[in-house]
């Protein structure tokens, strides 16, 4: 048994570095996650108590009633068959201990399954920009869609769409409508709230409240196919002012790399490509709207690119990761590292199948598998991607 103790203490030491990790549910930063953490710790304390009592009794019994060397092997111990009183008492104690867990469990289920009534969380009380009619009296509602293998997020009240990274205001209840576009996925940001599945044909929802500003890591938690492990996302919890600014940024259309309007640029690229400036970002944009066929699936708001099958790229260069969170390019303080960002764009365009096997961008008919992009083309597209960011960044 000392061996077992040393194993347990070894794992405790080893895990010291893991439990404050970026996806740890032992480090809650939101209302719902706190509630779940408290409940979890209650079950840990109760079962640890039982463990000490029952495990201790077991050890003591085995030690106390072992056969001794000087015992007569032909002499049998008393042949007792049971004791109803002991059984009854132990069953009663078990039920009592379970009731200790059951009461807060049921209360937490009721609490998390209804929208909390918090006037501060109504959109009108903290956000003063444009929003849809009547949204002032509602909490912020985000439609989260699971796709193989990435997430898209729509803010219908605010008219913005983003992919794989979203922002929510600090200390405000936010409602998520969880939908799937193909197979079952699961929406999970451990530090903010436990998971709820995104099931096709089913309208699931959840609410959460981020109580601390910060950058939080989420991941799909339901097996959804080949690249399930690569399906991650990020949630940025922001102060009210930062959130308002973020919303404004998401609404902007990045300027075209040449010409006054995107319309003019696309026409020029199609009809008179020789008039394009010979710069990587310009060549990349021409590829994006032309031979690359990227606009079949991707959208850049306010431009002719209005594809719906891939992530919205309007502000993709303001995100701190691509490929659904698998390719990260943030510094330790969560600012963007442009060199790594460029490298990630380039590698993703160049070898997406190697990075995320089975991905639709590569496999869809007319996708990357069918288009011969040269190394230079990939650099050009990456350069264009780098321009897709709000002016203020």
């Amino acid at each position: 048994m000392p061996l077992r103790l040393s194993i347990i203490s070894l794992t405790l030491v080893l895990s010291g570095c893991a439990l404050d990790g970026r996806q740890s549910f032992m480090d809650p930063r939101g209302e719902v996650a706190w509630l779940q953490y408290d409940l979890f710790m209650l079950t840990v304390y109760v079962t640890f108590g039982i463990f000490i009592a029952v495990g201790g009794t077991l050890l003591w019994t085995v030690w106390r009633y072992r056969e001794r060397v000087d015992d007569d092997p032909n002499e049998h111990p008393p042949q007792s068959h049971g004791n109803p009183l002991v059984e009854f008492v132990l069953i009663a104690i078990s039920i009592g201990l379970l009731v200790i867990i059951a009461i807060p469990t049921v209360s937490a289920i009721v609490y998390t399954h209804g929208m909390p009534d918090e006037p501060d969380s109504l959109l009108g009380s903290y956000y003063h920009g444009d929003m849809s009619d009547g949204a002032e009296e509602e909490v912020l509602t985000i439609y989260a869609y699971g796709w193989q293998w990435w997430f898209s997020f729509e803010y219908p009240q605010l008219g913005i769409v983003t992919g794989n990274e979203l922002a929510i205001p600090k200390g405000k209840v936010v409602r998520f409508e969880l939908r799937s576009k193909d197979v079952i996925h699961s929406f999970w940001v451990p530090k903010l709230a436990g998971k709820v599945d995104m099931i096709p044909g089913r309208n699931n929802w959840m609410w959460l409240r981020g109580d601390e500003a910060g950058y939080f890591f989420g991941q799909c938690a339901e097996y959804c196919g080949e690249s399930h492990a690569y399906m991650q996302f990020r949630v940025e919890v922001m102060e009210d002012d930062d959130f308002a600014e973020w919303v404004e940024q998401q609404r902007q259309t990045p300027p075209p790399p040449q010409e006054e309007s995107w319309q003019d640029f696309v026409v020029l690229a199609a009809r008179a490509p020789e008039k394009l400036v010979d710069e990587p970002a310009v060549r990349g944009a021409a590829l994006f709207y032309g031979r690359g066929a990227c606009i079949q699936c991707h959208a850049i708001k306010g431009t002719p690119a209005a594809g719906l099958l891939g992530p919205d790229l309007t502000t993709v260069a303001s995100r701190k990761s691509i490929a659904a969170g698998w390719m990260e390019h943030h510094n330790d303080d969560f600012t963007i590292n442009p060199e790594r960002q460029y490298e990630n764009f380039y590698r993703w365009i160049r070898e997406s199948e190697k990075i995320k096997p089975g991905n639709l961008m590569y496999h869809v008919s007319g996708g990357m598998r069918d288009i011969n992009l040269s190394d230079q083309d990939c650099h050009d597209l990456a350069a264009f991607m780098m321009t897709l960011r709000p002016d203020s960044l």
Binding site: T11, R22, Q23, T57, E87, S186, G201
Partner: protein, 654 residues
């Protein structure tokens, strides 16, 4: 009974009694391969179940080791995502359906007739059919590896062009990922393999229920049955109630994939969530199907090595029945994150907590059995004590899951992986290994020498804890299940590396166990009839038992019949029934169960090949089903057969 059987002279001792109405002869090989293929002897069938399931335990274990090697370091490229997904799918399916269930079935087969004082099970040919149907299902599932290898070599290409030929949908196969739009012919192998395995399990379950109700020796009242036999009975009822929902679900899924129905297809108005309800209303009782036989084994071993009766026999049986009953009322706790709503979530949370009570009762009673005894630490007892300890720890994390809000964080993380490996390895497997050691001298007549058995138990328990205890922390640190790799920034690397080392320690322990078994089989010393000074009927006959089990049907006077026969009062001694002039009536061997089962094998593989676009496979599938039908028809026509043995009577208990 049909007229065919009544015209066949059952009792008359004629030279041609094995000849049926249509002239078929029942085989009578006593040695060689044909003997094993045609045998209806429950003991030989049990040995084959054990050998096959141990082989699959090794195969599933190797799959697990590859999984652990891949996860040992962050962003590892050892195997691809596709192969990883196939490995965890096949590991889970293999361990549940091809290792633990058939190993339990091996114990049912060997022990139930011996423990109730019967000659064989009620339906010996059906028993053989269950075995060969299990083998057919196992081959259908695992032959996908060969087809995948052929695909790599360019010899075989499915029409959909997909290379995922080994199942990769997880052992739970959640819709709509199992649809043709998302997964290839691996899913067909999986559906057909499980469907065939289910047929074998159902046939076996009916057989054991009838056997236990009808074949008990005189005086073997229900409340005198050994606990293992009781748990077999409860498990058999769980199987006949739990497998039909799976059969229906698999059938619907097959229709969706082959015939364009829309049970689970959203585009056609179907509901993916329906699959989860059907699967888990099978799947949760299934976990009790895996653990109740283990509890039965432990309830046999602890009294023997404590040398006192089981504490609270009736309550242990009653709590086993309550676990079985409640097992059908908690399936949605696998679905706490699917949006069950307030009432559903609360109800399934509370019912799940309730099931902790009968489980706790069993642990209390096992400790009560040890209390006041004189405990001997032979190998089965080391494994048995390891079982109580590890199963208890798995139970604690089970209580943690029962609180739905806390579970929404644990669900689909390594915390859950840790939990069910504690109850499946620490619970089921440790108990089954304890049982293998306990009854090995009975089955082979040989007893091990040396300490390798003790050491195997210790190494397995260390490896188990080393592997699965840190997984709790990985789960808390947010590592999801079924992900083939992880980013270095997650901080999961150190623990994953430790876990992988543990997995190899566990593998060494299992290897030590296998070596000890083989060594004992070859060089063990004679064990004698009753090496443990045990309590139940099977120890009253020679080791290994003769083909007819009991020379004279015993007459049981009390619970723990053989113990009281040895140490009780005169009127507690086991009596016997004079076999009379007929002797012991024995069942004849038959080829028909093997033929019937082989039809399933042809059908399953042909259906998967049809899905792959191989020509004429639809006809081959129909041929397969025809073989099964012909097998059943000839089975009915070959007559009951049977012969009589006249044992000398020197082995009768005295």
């Amino acid at each position: 009974m049909s007229t065919a059987t009544s015209t066949a002279p059952l009792g008359a001792e004629k030279a041609d009694e094995n000849r049926s109405l249509i002239g078929l002869r029942r085989p009578d090989h006593t040695t060689g391969l044909a003997d094993w293929l045609t045998t209806v002897d429950h003991k030989k069938i049990a040995i084959m179940y054990a050998i096959f399931s141990l082989a699959f335990l090794v195969i599933g274990g190797i799959e697990a080791l590859i999984i652990r090697a891949q996860l040992a370091v962050a962003e590892n490229q050892l195997i691809t995502a596709e192969v990883y997904n196939q490995l965890f799918t096949m590991h889970g399916t293999t361990m549940v359906f091809l290792a633990v269930m058939p190993l339990s079935a091996a114990f049912f087969n060997y022990l139930v007739p011996l423990q109730i004082g019967a000659r064989d099970v009620a339906f010996p040919r059906l028993n053989s059919f269950s075995l060969w149907t299990f083998v057919a299902g196992a081959i259908i599932l695992n032959i996908s590896w060969l087809f995948q290898a052929a695909n790599l070599l360019g010899w075989f290409n499915p029409i959909d062009g997909r290379s995922d030929i080994v199942p990769a949908v997880g052992w739970f196969g959640y819709a709509p990922y199992t649809d043709t739009a998302y997964s290839g012919i691996g899913t067909d192998f999986w559906i057909l393999g499980l469907q065939v395995l289910g047929i074998g399990s159902l046939a076996a379950a009916f057989n054991f229920i009838v056997t236990i109700f009808n074949m008990r020796a005189p005086g073997m009242l229900m409340m005198r049955l050994p606990v293992f036999t009781w748990m077999t009975l409860i498990t058999s009822f769980l199987i006949i109630f739990a497998f039909p929902p799976l059969t229906v679900a698999l059938g619907e899924l097959m229709f969706d994939r082959y015939f364009g129905t829309s049970f689970f297809r959203v585009e056609g108005g179907g509901q993916p969530i329906l699959w989860q309800h059907l699967f888990w209303i099978f799947g949760h009782p299934e976990v009790y199907i895996l653990i109740l036989p283990a509890m039965g084994i432990i309830s046999e071993i602890l009294p023997v090595f404590s040398r006192k009766p089981l504490f609270g026999y009736s309550l242990i049986i009653f709590s086993g029945a309550v676990i079985g009953f409640l097992g059908f009322a908690v399936w949605s706790h696998h679905m706490f994150t699917t949006g069950l709503g307030t009432v559903g979530t609360a109800a399934f949370s509370l019912l799940t907590m309730a099931i902790a009570v009968p489980t706790g009762v069993k642990i209390f009673n096992w400790i009560g059995t040890l209390w006041g005894g004189k405990i001997r630490f032979d190998v089965p007892m080391i494994y048995g004590l390891g079982f109580i300890w590890m199963f208890m720890m798995g139970g604690f994390s089970g209580i943690m899951h029962s609180s739905a809000p806390a579970d929404s964080q644990q669900h689909d993380t390594y915390f859950v992986v840790a939990h069910f490996h504690y109850v499946l390895i620490g619970g089921s497997i440790l108990a089954l290994l304890a049982g293998l050691y306990f009854w090995f001298p009975k089955v082979t007549g040989r007893m091990w020498q040396g300490k390798l058995g003790h050491w195997s138990a210790i190494v397995i328990v260390i490896g188990l804890n080393w592997t699965f205890f840190p997984m709790h922390y990985l789960g808390m640190a947010g590592m999801p299940r079924r992900t083939h790799t992880y980013l270095e920034g997650t901080g999961w690397q150190a623990l994953n590396f430790a876990v992988t080392i543990g997995a190899f320690i566990l593998a060494v322990g299992i290897l030590m166990f296998l070596i000890d078994m083989l060594r004992t089989y070859r060089k063990g010393v004679p064990a004698g009839n009753d090496p443990w000074n045990a309590r139940t009927l099977e120890w009253s006959i020679p080791s290994p038992p003769p083909v007819h089990n009991f020379d004279r049907t015993p007459v049981v006077k009390a619970r723990d019949a053989f113990w009281l026969h040895k140490f009780g009062t005169v009127d507690q001694k086991i009596g016997s029934v004079d076999p009379g002039a007929h002797g012991v009536h024995m069942p004849s061997k038959s080829w028909m169960p093997l033929l019937t089962s082989s039809g399933f094998l042809v059908f399953g593989i042909a259906m998967a090949m049809k899905s792959a676009g191989v020509p004429l496979m639809g006809y081959l599938a129909i041929t397969g089903l025809s073989i099964t039908l012909i097998g059943i028809y000839l089975w009915a026509l070959e007559g009951p057969g049977g012969y009589h043995l006249h044992p000398e009577g020197e082995h009768r208990p005295h």
